[in-house]
Symmetry: C2
Subunit: 351 residues, 2 copies
């Protein structure tokens, strides 16, 4: 076991004032609603399951403006939708429900899921809980707690499962703009700033990276998989995965890029699972991808292998934060030579 | 006179910890150094005045990584350059000076200009003090104080003068992404969020706007002009300007866009003034432009006039902040009709 990192005892390890404060402003909600891949995925799930949803009781956890609840009432005929939102956005959600004439179907409840009371169990628990690198901000814990408390036996979880994917990648532009830049700008030697640059730009992952398919050095691997029916809160403390990549083309291995896919099972005969894929081969989403830069790039050749382990370690103190650790081995073998290089790097997200 | 706005007595009305804290990280410096228009303008000034600079004493105020001081030593032969920086970046500036072999010419001094002591007066005061909308963060006050204290009679100021420009503009994309979006997204009525959107997105100006020349509804006006030789600190409390635009093409008047130009006089015969223009017809800079959105767009036609006043009112409490107020009249006249519409809006930047 590992010792807790708590040097500093936080007043609120969930930082809820900051977290829910952000979701009380419109900016984030606009960004999420404007994200067509995200919003349309949920819309497709509701639409494709409208026969199944008839007379069902639904909970929409962390409903924000209530878009998923509104889709339920607009496209299907659930008996009741409980739209649960902890931030002050809930007041506007209520107005939107009324404006669209759905106040008989949708009940907006403002509060944290641990505090709110429902009059009955639910048939379906739907939520858009995914963060950067799938887990960041750990809203998933609230989903698991809601499931255990409010989902009836045999009830449905949407998303039903989730996977984290990883690929070794090039990041030439990001590297040169942040690191090579200091080599000789304007004919001057700025290399004394390179260590500072590495610390400032490469210690934490880069959120909001968009990786182009051509910068993937190998086909991606799924490294973590969550079954939303069986996931336990304690599982979230440490998640481990393994990767093995076969380098497809020669290039510079600058780091790893991660993203997630979530899957929504269909309850209707003939209808297929809806998938929300936030990777480089899908339409870009507001999550984009997450880039983890090595301190020093490594040249790799087609045929090399990059294998190792990823560990997502939830912060003991700041419960919405985590550290992602990569341990890797790069193997090169030709007819008459063999070489092997190992590395390890941990990235706090965010502390 | 107006009453001070101080309800809350700030511990530090200059917020120096936050302000200089930001400049202690590399991100901002990288952004400024990577801004070719900005950095090359200062380089051209030094290069074009290298004969003049021979044996001169120079002060580079708020030197950051020291790029301007390094240009002086690299391209000219000043006797001494005092590179003054309040943030902790000064430690790195010293390393860069040494790495480039200029420690005999450049002396790095860490401290606020009000506190540091120079052994002599200077012939040239050069600084990159401009913020959003020219004045934001009011570093210009430190430049004026330095001039009065350390510039010898007849010494040179770079920039020598500065102008704030304004244009009435369209901002279709920004307006539709933030306001029209709520009309009927996904077949639902989200109009109850429009007032919130207006408050959240249009109350403060949008920094980092890039206006395309085609979205300018009229030729721009210079509304404020600062002579860096005669500017007084007290002048900064309230600056007023007037504008009169002749609408060139029909369109939607969404707001005003502002930017600045600074001018560096040449001290050498035959050499021309260097200009750093951050407007829509110049290369984009890291300042981009500043967009001030009206609450409600107004349709205008070619031939209409938009005239009025702009006031930049420095915050009495938070000394790096200001409020920009626009008062405007739109006049339309055709053969047999005349109409006139007036408006006023104040934008806090940032409080
Ligand atoms: Ca989310
Ligand atoms: Ca500046």
């Amino acid at each position: 076991g590992e010792a807790p990192e708590a040097e500093e005892e936080p007043e609120d390890p969930w930082q809820d004032e900051e977290y829910f404060g952000n979701y009380g402003t419109l900016k984030l909600h606009l960004e999420m609603l404007s994200d067509k891949s995200r919003t349309e995925a949920y819309r497709q799930v509701i639409l494709g399951n409208r026969a199944f949803l008839k007379n069902k009781v639904v909970m929409d956890l962390g409903c924000g403006t209530g878009i998923i609840s509104l889709f339920c009432a607009q496209l299907a005929q659930p008996s009741t939708v409980y739209a649960v939102e902890a931030s002050s956005m809930a007041n506007y959600t209520r107005q939107l429900v009324k404006q669209n004439g759905f106040e008989d179907t949708i009940t907006v409840l403002q509060g944290r899921i641990e505090e709110i009371q429902l009059p009955q169990q639910v048939d379906v628990l739907v939520s858009e809980w995914m963060g950067n690198c799938l887990l960041f901000e750990f809203m998933v814990e609230s989903v698991v707690l809601s499931r255990d408390r409010w989902l009836r036996d045999g009830g449905v979880m949407w998303p039903s499962s989730a996977a984290l994917s990883l690929v070794p990648c090039q990041a030439d532009t990001y590297y040169s703009e942040n690191m090579s830049f200091w080599d000789r700008p304007y004919g001057l030697d700025f290399t004394p700033l390179q260590l500072l640059a590495q610390q400032e730009f490469f210690t934490k992952p880069k959120f909001s990276h968009i990786i182009e398919p051509k910068d993937c050095l190998a086909p991606p691997c799924d490294v973590l998989f969550l079954d939303m029916y069986t996931l336990q809160v304690r599982d979230l403390e440490e998640l481990k995965g393994h990767f093995h990549f076969c380098v497809e083309k020669s290039g510079t291995f600058h780091g790893f890029t991660a993203w997630f896919t979530v899957y929504f099972e269909s309850l209707e005969a003939g209808d297929t699972t809806v998938e929300l894929n936030t990777g480089p081969n899908a339409e870009p989403t507001h999550w984009k991808q997450t880039l983890f830069m090595l301190d020093t790039p490594v040249s790799v050749c087609a045929g090399d292998s990059i294998s190792g382990d990823i560990t997502v370690h939830r912060n003991h103190t700041w419960r919405r934060h985590m550290t992602v650790t990569f341990e890797w081995t790069i193997k090169t073998s030709t007819e008459d030579s063999y070489s092997c290089q190992v590395g390890k790097k941990s990235f706090p997200m965010w502390r």
